[in-house]
Symmetry: C2
Subunit: 464 residues, 2 copies
Amino acid sequence: MLTRCIRTQIGIHNMPSQLLLRFANPPQPWRDCRGLASDTEDNDQIKTLMQLCSDRYYMICDALNGDPFHLGISRPYGPLGMELRKSILDKWWTSVVISRAQVFGISTMHLTKTISATGQNTLKLVDSTALDRIINQKGLNRDQARDTMSKQLQDSSTLRTNLLQGALEQYLPSLELVNRRLPFGLAETGVCYQPLEGQTDGPSCPAEVTRASLVWFCSPRTSSQWLDYWARQRLQWWRKFALGPSSFSCSEVSDGGEGERASRAVRILYQFPWGAEPLETLCNLGDTELLQTHGGSRAKLQCRDGRKYVLPHVISVCGNIDRGVLAYLHNSLQEVKKTDSKQRLYKRKVLKLHPSLAPVKVALDMGRGPTVELRQVCEGLLQELLEGGISAWPGYLDTMHSTMEQLSTKYDEMGVLFTVLMADSTLESGLVQVRNRDTTIKETMHISQVKIFLTKYIRASENV
Amino acid sequence: MLTRCIRTQIGIHNMPSQLLLRFANPPQPWRDCRGLASDTEDNDQIKTLMQLCSDRYYMICDALNGDPFHLGISRPYGPLGMELRKSILDKWWTSVVISRAQVFGISTMHLTKTISATGQNTLKLVDSTALDRIINQKGLNRDQARDTMSKQLQDSSTLRTNLLQGALEQYLPSLELVNRRLPFGLAETGVCYQPLEGQTDGPSCPAEVTRASLVWFCSPRTSSQWLDYWARQRLQWWRKFALGPSSFSCSEVSDGGEGERASRAVRILYQFPWGAEPLETLCNLGDTELLQTHGGSRAKLQCRDGRKYVLPHVISVCGNIDRGVLAYLHNSLQEVKKTDSKQRLYKRKVLKLHPSLAPVKVALDMGRGPTVELRQVCEGLLQELLEGGISAWPGYLDTMHSTMEQLSTKYDEMGVLFTVLMADSTLESGLVQVRNRDTTIKETMHISQVKIFLTKYIRASENV
């Protein structure tokens, strides 16, 4: 995890690596109060997280057995998980595309017939009725049937495995857009498909991954600095929304998988209980893939670097947003030992997601009272919040009459930032109780102030 | 195009249909000043639009021949088209999900092994190496090879053709979320795949469609009213962002395709030059599909409607957002005959996209002058705008020295709302010229006011 980009950042090149590591991941006891856990604790923690994701509408896990979290199996999201992923994608887009003029969003096809310059793709999409017809066609001997079938497979579309290839293909149409001036980038987010490795028994269901990709074209003389720049920018971005930023790190890839093709690669890693896994991979690909995609014609690919014309180098920044969702979920889960009102020991679980990522910002509940009027007040506030773009949870509709403790447990596990509790007295005084997820402190506030307070709180958290 | 929902809206049930049609599509000369065009004019218009989309970064059309607009062939988007589709999807999501408490976003898998209750799906995803192995395996006679192959195909995953099936499957996990209380909805946007019909020569590349889907569960006694409600809401929504709202209409489907399955269906149509095409289809599916998806067990599917428990009816609202992009592009293109400075007649083309949909809100340009300082001023304003979330076009980077007329032509065709022009004098006075796309009027403004002005202008257009 000794990172060159961090070396550059702090400007010290000859430090012992242990010390560097400390610089890269400074201890932040006020943010991250979990110590080093044993293997059993890790396993317990994974189980707890899985159960919580399933119970609290983040993921649909019922069909999965065993240990699905690090097998790379794709799974459907529940409403809260879906919102979390959407927020992460939106933030990624804002940080990479919207806030800079030289990055353009594109949208390429999921299905393609072109052969990728970036690796062999074996996932083919076929119309099963057409294949059936060939299989059952009479008068064909085995060789003929085989040839027809092979041809059919060859001509079939493949599903994209990455977003790099599409961006390389859009390089030429983009040149006019940027006046042939370097650097510039093409960004895209979307689903990619991957054959599941290691599955040999029977046909497997390929994995779906939501990817976020930036393909950055720059002059060869600056490409190494740009790789450092993006690695630093991406690491900072991932850490910005983390409860325990030290679990996110940056590591230079010296050899292995990407090493052969890329002249240099950097990975943004998250330290899961079972090991570090890459959330985002940054490679300096040189000009090989670009040339290959466009049939080797150097002249038409050249771009201006100042006054000179050069063949650009390609830096690929490719994130796995589904793994990012898991990383933030794991990173946000905090377990605190507590005693309940009857002096029994229990573990309080809180999903301390960053305020701007939390799928539900506020839950509205009411105590017993003159139900009809109170409910109307709740509905009014709910509508006001929704119109202001603040996602609110209509807890007051729940007729199960949970205790305040049960409610807090539920909302803490959902990661709900605030709980607004209305009581009888609210109808007279207009005062409500607002409970903070992170501090568990309850404040009294006038109902007319709730929306302003929440808006300010969320906005402030984004500017830290 | 005789619409029941519009009948309900205006409360008149026995009007002659011609009259009703006039009510449904009232002439709005101030908004829509294009008359009825002849066939040749229509064809010219389509060609003009295609050329403009290709030239102005909306779509990548170079690989397409003939008449791709109404063949349902999917195509990659350029940066501007991609932003336009993203804006439409965002607005759809806000109007259907964010602004109401009973609709939850979900995210289902693109690949599935379950057999859909909503029709046969023949698009199979296969790993071509596995099939190749079977084809080339020695010692198998033809029948054995055929059986192995058939089994492999049967076990392969299929690609989703709609978002309805996934939502039906998530019905049960969602019940706890809503306390088994009707009505509620599950919404999703994403890519679906469709076999291309009518292509018989050789394997075809299936079409990709970006869909937006709401599946609404409600009590049987209110389902017809809900269908009317959603049809009205959806039509209003499409019209809200239209330059010529009368080209968007609503039509009851009496029989045919959906008719057999659905007890009632309504379509939101857009009048393309080649005929009306559906942008969104709303069906009242009854309870058949829901029962089929969950193996017919009525008891566990029941929900509360007030104090009673009932089996919900399903209303599916399903939009084709790619077609929506085309509809808005076609709807926004206005051609006006003009004479240029040399008294030559020409057609001025303006893409009058709604302010909140226009992918680029403002272009920044500068006249000749002390270039370095002026460019710094441009860059400062660009950064300020981007940070405020206003997409800005760095036209000042263009060193081609276009005339003001050429610039206006380009920006009008791109649909850029405003052009800010800085000159020599800006450095002393701080004054810039701001040109409005729709009125072509140029205003002088202090540079410090530009961001506030644009923010207010865009916000105001959304609240109309």
